[in-house]
């Protein structure tokens, strides 16, 4: 039943042998030493501070949406760093390997990376950045903020939330394992078919990629279900659809995309897995397979996935811009409608990723026009943000800098996207670095917004703010790096440079490649400042503590809770009276966080099952990758057993009594807001509503 494999296999360790641990490669050795030493330092520190019990009780087994959100974001930032190191390596290889006389190091003919190693690095970079860096960071922000914004005590399914996180972490763990045990896929993050088929990639790299993405994807699907259910079912009284904050609107749209798109990826990868493990012929060249079926499936997920990550970024910008313009968001209704419209369009444009497939003019014209239509709701958003800025009292604190740069970058990425939407232009620049620069503009706008979102909501979750000076430096170098890397890349694309090159045959491209290398150097400085910002802010947290609304002009409901947010979020659920509830309460002089009564609160109990399931999923993925069947059978049986055992646990919730809530609430300082929003500003009367005048 299983395919016949070339090479050694034994029942105990499957395909795994000592020779699969690539200790002969200096680069992998360095990375291995870095990770091992880093892990040892952290583990020793935890042990010395006797934090294991605390970590287990408060974080690893938690079902609290804020803590899960923090863990998601942390995972995303760590993966972002690894993806960034991959980027540095690629840029350095391309600047070293120019022309036939360029020297070779570490066994490479040119540059310092062999083609196979280079292929693994760009594949890992794409997979990591999109699925394990940006997606978890945005999931983390949605997890932490959406329940607060809709006025809920937790997500609709807190246990499922933890499970979703640990499955994402399991996928990320497999990716990290691939770095040190065996190879990673060299077939691009999209899994170029039929290169991913067994005859062309007989190693374990594609399997690692496939299972890491598959397991992480299950986690993301579960998270999407949770966010939709939370927004639809858990809103506080008075939180009508017309009052839902825009970030929650985008979280809702994005989750609808997630829940409908990720299963298609799951199916595509499962079919690829059947090809690789059972010898079926879905995507094989010959025997009745169809290569383009995979490509279609992949992009039927892949394009919605792009909007899956861009929509929350739009939501973050829509929260940050009004706060720092001291004005309500311009065009609330069109903003919500545009979010939903972008989610809808995400399903109609997948074929523009392979116009060159040869589908004929009719099909290409349809998808070309559909792709251009995306510009309409996106344009609505850009204009709305611009009109929000117009005549506002703008303050350039670091979240605002990130947000404004994000939508400036959206213009660059969006307009080049409009160019690529023309099939005729796409045929010319297809697979060039112009395309690479285009989608990096889009993904970096998400990165800008995500980093802005982190600095905007960090004080909300933790009760102290990030260091502003270091944040500005991080921003400045990040923006400079973006400019220096991607403007030359657009130019190189027009000059005909194709993507994924490990060797550059045209020496005249060298100056621009050097400019890109300088840009990546700016990014390195930025990463240093981001790390230093976290370190310094946490070290000096006593000096930057505050109890209420750190920005003074924030608007939506999440700022009604204390900072740091108590584990039950709201002692009493707020009754929502207006669209920008917190701004409304502030301007009407009722901005007290102290409720008028207390009541019992039912809370979910912590559970160790999600982290156990995550560990079992990692083992399952590892066993499948190396074809160690006893391991996969045991892990799968363990998963089924754990789910069933969990189904028989009776007391999954506990009650916090009203007296206890009152006692806890006395511990918080109810600081009245010092500033009132600029109600006289343009648009003020348009968006603020009162209870007497509901939408």
């Amino acid at each position: 039943m299983f395919v016949h494999l070339q090479g050694p296999w034994n029942p105990l360790t499957g395909r795994l042998a000592w020779s699969d641990i690539p200790y002969r490669n200096a680069i992998v050795d360095g990375a291995f030493a870095f990770v091992v030493i880093g892990a040892l330092v952290i583990l020793t520190w935890i042990t010395r501070k006797r934090l294991w019990g605390y970590l287990w009780r408060e974080w690893i087994t938690t079902v609290d949406h804020k803590k899960i959100g923090v863990m998601y974001t942390l995972l995303g930032l760590v993966m972002l760093f690894r993806g960034f190191v991959d980027a540095v390596m690629m840029r350095t290889q391309q600047v070293l390997a120019v022309g036939p006389h360029s020297p070779g190091f570490l066994g490479a003919l040119h540059g310092y990376l062999t083609p196979y190693h280079f292929g693994q690095i760009y594949s890992a970079h794409g997979t990591l950045m999109i699925l394990f860096a940006i997606t978890p960071i945005l999931q983390g922000l949605m997890n932490a903020i959406v329940p607060l914004q809709v006025g809920a005590r937790d997500m609709a399914f807190p246990y499922l939330n933890a499970l979703g996180f640990w499955l994402t972490a399991a996928g990320a763990s497999l990716l990290m394992l691939a770095l040190f045990v065996g190879d990673f896929s060299h077939a691009g993050w999209i899994g170029l078919i039929p290169l991913t088929e067994l005859p062309y990639s007989p190693g374990v790299g594609v399997d690692y990629w496939m299972w890491a993405v598959q397991i992480g994807g299950v986690g993301t699907t579960l998270a999407s279900i949770n966010i939709i259910a939370t927004i639809v079912k858990m809103r506080a009284p008075g939180m009508t659809w017309g009052r839902l904050p825009i970030f929650s609107w985008t979280a809702l749209s994005t989750s609808v995309v997630g829940i409908s798109a990720f299963p298609v990826l799951a199916a595509a990868l499962a079919l690829l897995g059947l090809d690789r493990y059972f010898g079926t012929h879905f995507f094989t060249a010959g025997m009745g397979g169809n290569l383009m079926l995979y490509t279609n499936f992949f992009w039927i997920w892949g394009h919605p996935e792009v909007y899956f990550v861009v929509l929350p970024a739009f939501g973050i910008i829509s929260e940050v811009v009004p706060t720092f313009s001291e004005k309500p968001l311009f065009g609330y209704a069109t903003m919500a409608a545009a979010s939903v419209a972008i989610a809808g369009f995400s399903w109609m444009v997948w074929l523009h990723h392979f116009f060159t497939m040869g589908a004929g003019p009719g099909v290409n014209a349809f998808f070309g026009i559909a792709s251009m239509l995306v510009g309409i709701p996106t344009g609505v958003k850009v204009f709305n943000w611009t009109f929000t800025l117009y005549k506002g009292r703008i303050r350039f604190e670091s979240p605002m800098m990130w947000a404004v740069s994000a939508f400036a970058l959206l213009l660059v990425g969006g307009l080049t996207g409009m160019m690529l939407a023309f099939p005729a232009i796409d045929f010319t620049v297809h697979n060039s670095v112009f395309l690479v620069a285009h989608f990096h503009s889009m993904l970096l706008l998400i990165g800008f917004a995500a980093l802005g979102g982190i600095s905007y909501w960090f004080p909300k979750i933790f009760g102290f703010r990030l260091n502003e000076t270091l944040g500005r430096r991080a921003f400045a170098f990040f923006a400079g790096g973006t400019f220096m890397v991607f403007v030359p890349m657009y130019m190189l694309g027009f000059m005909g440079m194709t993507r994924r090159l490990d060797y550059i045959a045209h020496p005249q491209w060298l100056p621009l490649l050097i400019a890109e290398e300088v840009g990546i150097g700016l990014y390195v400085v930025s990463v240093y400042y981001v790390a230093k910002q976290f370190y310094v802010s946490i070290r000096d947290r006593a000096r930057s503590r505050f109890a209420g609304d750190v920005w003074g002009t924030s608007r939506s409901l999440e700022w009604l809770t204390y900072s740091p947010v108590p584990f039950y979020n709201y002692a009493v659920l707020p009754h929502v009276n207006s669209r920008d509830e917190w701004a409304w309460r502030r301007s009407h002089g009722v901005a007290s966080r102290r409720p008028d009564h207390y009541e019992d609160i039912h809370l979910p109990r912590n559970s160790a099952v999600p982290v156990i399931l995550g560990a079992l999923a990692t083992i399952l993925g590892f066993g499948l990758t190396w074809r160690i069947w006893w391991m996969t059978d045991a892990a799968f049986a363990g998963i089924v057993m754990a789910v069933i055992v969990r189904a028989f646990v009776r007391n999954t919730s506990w009650t916090l009594t009203a007296e206890e809530v009152e006692r806890l609430e006395q511990g918080f300082e109810d600081v009245p807001p010092t500033q009132t929003p600029a109600d006289h500003a343009l648009g003020g009367a348009v968006v603020l509503e009162t209870a007497d005048n509901p939408p």
């Binding site: 009276n577 309460r585 008028d596 009564h597």
Partner: protein
């Protein structure tokens, strides 16, 4: 109510109704969302089947007309629909709080589901015996995968039915048990719906 807590125009600031979200409706709503994801998996498999059912995809091997046994599939259709009906009776018994009735309905649904799997297993085994395996061609890969993906769902459904029978027996009709029975209903009826789609679009169109 304390007047100081009243805002502009006497607006209510904190919920006075001791709002408790409806747990059962939230859980079933969430499960419907999960089913939406599952539908997308089956939609992909149906799409793959349709793309891979052209003559070229048989690679010179068996054609749809050779491997489809619509009469066997018809018996399966009867079995799975009766199983869903039996589950429906369990739901009627749940409304009246009749524990025996629920258990009998679950048992009927489970046994008929097992019968379905047995017939399907025989059908696929005979195909494999005749050399029509999933490895033979793209068409057969898609056919086996679609039918067996449904079969795997049925297996998990049967495990779930068994777990629910134990829980009904042990706990009675608690909130948790009731929402799980409702979710299982969605899941089980959905499998019948998928099978009817397979019967119509794979078996019946296959022999035409």
């Amino acid at each position: 109510m304390d007047l100081s807590q009243k805002g502009d125009g006497g607006a209510l600031l904190w919920d006075q109704s001791h709002l408790q979200h409806d747990a059962i409706s939230t859980k079933t709503y969430g499960f419907w969302l999960y089913m939406l994801g599952d539908i997308m998996i089956f939609a992909s498999l149906f799409a793959a089947y349709i793309v891979l059912s052209y003559p070229v995809n048989t690679a010179g091997g068996p054609t749809p007309g050779d491997v489809m046994h619509p009469v066997m599939a018809f018996w399966n259709t009867l079995l799975i629909c009766t199983s869903a009906l039996s589950y429906g009776y369990a739901m009627v018994a749940l409304k009246t709080g009749h524990r025996r009735g629920v258990l009998a309905g679950l048992a009927g649904a489970g046994l008929l589901g097992l019968g379905f799997l047995a017939v399907e297993g025989l059908d696929l085994a005979s195909l494999i015996q005749h050399g029509a395996t999933a490895e033979r061609s793209g068409f057969l890969s898609a056919f086996f995968t679609l039918v067996m993906a449904h079969g795997v769902h049925m297996v998990f459904g049967l495990i779930w039915i068994a777990v629910m029978a134990v829980q009904v027996e042990r706990d009675g009709f608690t909130e948790t048990v009731v929402y799980r029975l409702l979710n299982l209903k969605i899941f089980w009826f959905f499998q019948a719906f998928i099978w009817i789609s397979i019967f119509s679009f794979v078996y019946l169109t296959g022999v035409m």
